[in-house]
């Protein structure tokens, strides 16, 4: 069963290098696969290259969709990370 959650990018500089690395690092700790959607773009949540290409700026709506055994925990963890502003707030 796929689990999804919508979050808003709160930090000023958006999804730039450091937040992407934190995000990818966290996503890699779970078994479930994760896709991140922003506007009409989509990225593998474990791919720093694709995450950069989301071009998610401050205020952007991002949908995190996970599928797998620990999808629920994965989505909660990633949404928490985004909402905390990646520690930049």
């Amino acid at each position: 069963m796929a689990v999804e959650r919508e979050v808003i990018i709160p930090n000023k500089e958006g999804l730039h290098f450091r937040p992407i690395m934190q995000f990818v690092d966290l996503a890699q700790r779970f078994a479930a696969g994760v896709t991140v959607h922003c506007a009409e773009r989509a990225a593998d949540g474990r791919s720093p290259m694709e995450m950069l290409m989301l071009v998610a700026t401050q205020g952007a709506k991002v949908r995190v969709v996970a599928d797998g055994p620990d999808a629920e925990q994965l989505v909660t963890a990633l949404a928490g990370l985004v909402e905390s502003g990646f520690g930049e707030l």
Binding site: P10, K12, E13, G14, L15, H16, F17, R18, I20, M21, V24, D44, S47, P48, M49, E50, L52, M53, V55, T57, Q58, E83, S84, G85, G87, E88, L89
Partner: protein, 580 residues
Amino acid sequence: MITKKGINASPGVAIGPALVLDTEEYRIPHRTIDPALCALELRNLDAALAAARQEVAELRAAAAAKLGDKTAVIFAFHEQFIADPKLRESVAEQIERRHFTAAYAFGQFMKERQRVFRNVADPYLKERVRDLADLERRVLRHILGRTRENMTRLTEPVIIVANDITPSQAVSLDRGHILGFAINVGGQTSHTAIIARMLGIPAVVALGDITTDVSGSETLIVDGSNGIVVANPDGETIARYSTRQRDYQRFEDKLRSLRDVPAVTQDGVAVQLLANIEVPEEVPEALEYGAEGVGLFRTELLFLSSQRIPSEEQQYEAFRDVLRATAGKPVVIRTIDLGADKLAPLLGAPHEHNPALGLRSLRYCLMHLDLFKTHLRAILRASGEGDLRIMFPMISTLMELRQAKSTLHDVMEDLDEEGIPFRRDVPVGMMVETPAAALLARAFVREAAFLSIGTNDLTQYTLAVDRANARVAHLFSSHNPAVLKLISLAVRATQGRPVEVSLCGEMAGMPLYTQLLLGLGLRRLSMAPKEIPVIKRLVRATTLARCRAIARTVIRFDADRQVLNYLRDEYRNIEPEDDA
């Protein structure tokens, strides 16, 4: 002579010969290959990615050592980007399916992505197009077998003229031979700008096509303070800019030389100049300006910049970072000083008609003990890291101070029970920013380890003026005799007691008031970091005797206009002439 206007990216003036860096894009010899050679191209791609990754790892280490974590993060990301299986997969697919050469497939892949970023409006993310270009060039060099260009072997001082300086070029810069930068593209937040400022090299960016306007060894002037570049200047222009260069240098030297000299008056009275900061990242700059510690760490930004209350851990990390960065110098942490109006979006507090006089700051904390205790826990946990001091804001009654202290003791007991270490003897002080606190300062000093006078709120509450309200803002003046009398009361209450007093409002950073404040008995002033050198210069130019005479005169005035005129005269009399 050509004069071009760009964006001032790093201050200072440079005059010297131009070195125009090759802006030629890599020419890719072949687009497609015989299908039989696909495997070879894939191996070529893998080898190039591996070599590029290794190169970036080395740059990351060099950047961490030379330029600090911020630049190291850039390379850490570059490294992950190159190592991303998705990148390899996408490029390999083009090689296998369409029989592209590795170079062409990779170049196309990266160019497509750069096009996306060119259309981004966000200034920060827009700059990432440069990272993609840097990555493209780096990997292509390995695919095509070209050695990397660098600026490490310059033999004479030059001004670098380039389309852009990539992060990797910047790290290999030979600082000793680079006088300035004149760059086609970029903005104040581009890598070139950040790195130039860090290295103290004048730079102008966003000059359009400076690389085609200038040819090698032409004389160039880079005015990084005003964002102007002059190519082939005439003698008169060179002379004019040489003067400016000397002035700027003198100004810089003056500030730098002031950093390490003590803030002591002509008659030998030491004054402690401290910094007001809002985020841990400000500490290095504050120390650079000569701050002897942090006189006020405002914790509000920690709360306002997030859409939720920061966790104990997040708060702890911020406090710990400040203490580590200050390395043993005093750090005064002011507990949450927000009005219910500001906290409302976070906590759903009810609307108030008069937030300045409402449930705010310490009052709010005392009504919301969970929030307050978490905050105090985070502060106490960081107390072992250095000379931390806790300050309670917005106190108007003794009861409030006692309640705040007793809450702090409760938290200490909790930490004791949990076996979490902290400094039990952490000094606990308070802000004097209500007339009540100033008038009763004699009572407060029996229970507070230190006082810090917040002149902005003290003025607002004494004169009943909201300076954000344009219709009454003209009535807001911290030099109103009523405010000065309250400051004087608070200072005198500490005299003869082991209670420190400081002033951390805007007055502290305004040279007009410095002599008066010293004359009123203050020896600790906390201000925005960049004001410190200016205030220090003034302290060093005056005498305490003079300051006392000024204070004695001022305290007799009845109108703020008299005070202002008199202080202006006194300031003019002392102002050092060599003001740059």
